[in-house]
């Protein structure tokens, strides 16, 4: 099992949702929900710490693979995250994505934390900074209105793809 203390939080996004912690947990872990707010990806995970975690394209191809590091329904879900479905990305070190769910008055505070084990360049962090607000705004809309939010997905910017290519060539994480 991965040592999660080696990962430092880099991107944090907080959103409040009019729903129960159980409903938010279901939205994070059930493919019928994730397909409607996560750019069409189906989450596929074994419901236990140490279990397998994956994100799949609508046609079943692998996009992200990882491991369930913490499975504590309905409070905390933490998974390792390696994008395998795009050129070069599979050679980057995996990151850690954690969701914390806390009841807050009539609503739930959902905190997403993306953590990295290396000094990841800003241009690579931009990918998550662009994606998470769309994904989590969509999750909130789906739970509160039962309708998906159409934000589209213009894909990552060129400087992001360049930064990934450069990092894979130089492998700075091997230096420390």
């Amino acid at each position: 099992m991965v040592d999660s203390t080696k990962f430092k939080p880099k991107t944090v996004y907080v959103i409040y949702i009019a729903a129960t912690p159980e409903k938010v947990w279901q939205a994070l872990t059930d493919p019928a929900f994730s397909k409607q707010y996560f750019f069409g990806f189906a989450v596929d995970m074994e419901p236990t710490t140490g279990g397998r975690f994956r994100l799949l394209w609508p046609d079943g191809r692998l996009h992200v693979s990882g491991e369930v590091v913490e499975w504590t329904p309905p409070r905390r879900l933490s998974v390792t995250w390696l994008v395998e479905g795009m050129k070069d990305f599979g050679e980057l070190p995996q990151c850690l994505v954690s969701y914390d769910i806390v009841a807050s008055g009539d609503a739930v505070r959902l905190t997403m934390t993306e953590s990295h084990s290396w000094d990841v360049p800003r241009d690579i962090l931009r990918g998550g900074e662009m994606g998470w607000p769309k994904i989590l705004s969509g999750l909130k809309s789906l739970l509160e209105t039962r309708k998906p939010l159409v934000t589209g997905n213009e894909g990552p910017p060129p400087e992001f793809m360049e930064a990934v290519k450069r990092a894979v060539a130089e492998k700075p994480w091997l230096r420390s």
């Binding site: 991107t11 944090v12 996004y13 907080v14 959103i15 409040y16 949702i17 009019a18 807050s104 008055g105 009539d106 609503a107 505070r109 800003r122 607000p133 769309k134 705004s137 969509g138 909130k140 809309s141 509160e144 209105t145 309708k147 939010l149 159409v150 934000t151 589209g152 997905n153 213009e154």
Partner: protein, 159 residues
């Protein structure tokens, strides 16, 4: 989230809302609507460049004061503001809050409509750590409530 990439901290938050830029602008600038998602607080302002702006608690006490630096409906609003009720925050001086409204990946053929709202908030001078820490806790609550109000007709929560 707080961007600590440069010398001074800056709060940046992006949310996507199923609405139109005009409705979002109205919700950001109408005192009665503001009260519905800002936990009873409201702004007293006509939202014209150069106008005085203040944010007041339900009981009439003043929370923040400042002025409108830019107002370009329904695209861009810049407010210069200072906290007035917590001495340690007031001591950090004026901040600048920029709100930008854009159509997000608008595909009329699909009937898809989402609006991207981006908030940048930073202190004008040096430092500002306490102020930015404070607004970084508040903005996600206020903006989550604003999104709920525009999409469902109700704020997500009261406190």
């Amino acid at each position: 989230m707080i961007d600590r990439g440069s010398n001074k901290p800056k709060f940046v938050y992006v949310t996507y809302i199923r609405t139109t830029p005009e409705r979002l602008w109205a919700a950001l600038t109408d005192p009665q609507t503001i009260r519905q998602y800002w936990f009873g607080m409201t702004a007293e302002c006509d939202f014209k460049p150069g106008s005085a702006w203040s944010l007041k608690f339900e009981d009439g006490r003043t929370a923040d004061t400042g002025e409108i630096l830019e107002a370009d409906p329904p695209r861009r609003l810049v407010i210069r503001w200072r906290n007035e009720f917590k001495p340690e925050l007031k001591a950090e001086g004026y901040s600048r809050c920029t709100m930008e409204i854009e159509l997000a990946d608008y595909y009329p053929d699909f009937g898809g409509k989402a609006v991207k709202l981006t908030i940048h908030h930073e202190i004008e001078g040096e430092g500002g750590g306490k102020f930015i820490e404070a607004v970084s806790g508040g903005w996600p609550k206020v903006l989550s409530n604003l999104k709920s109000l525009l999409e469902t007709g109700d704020a997500a929560f009261q406190k």
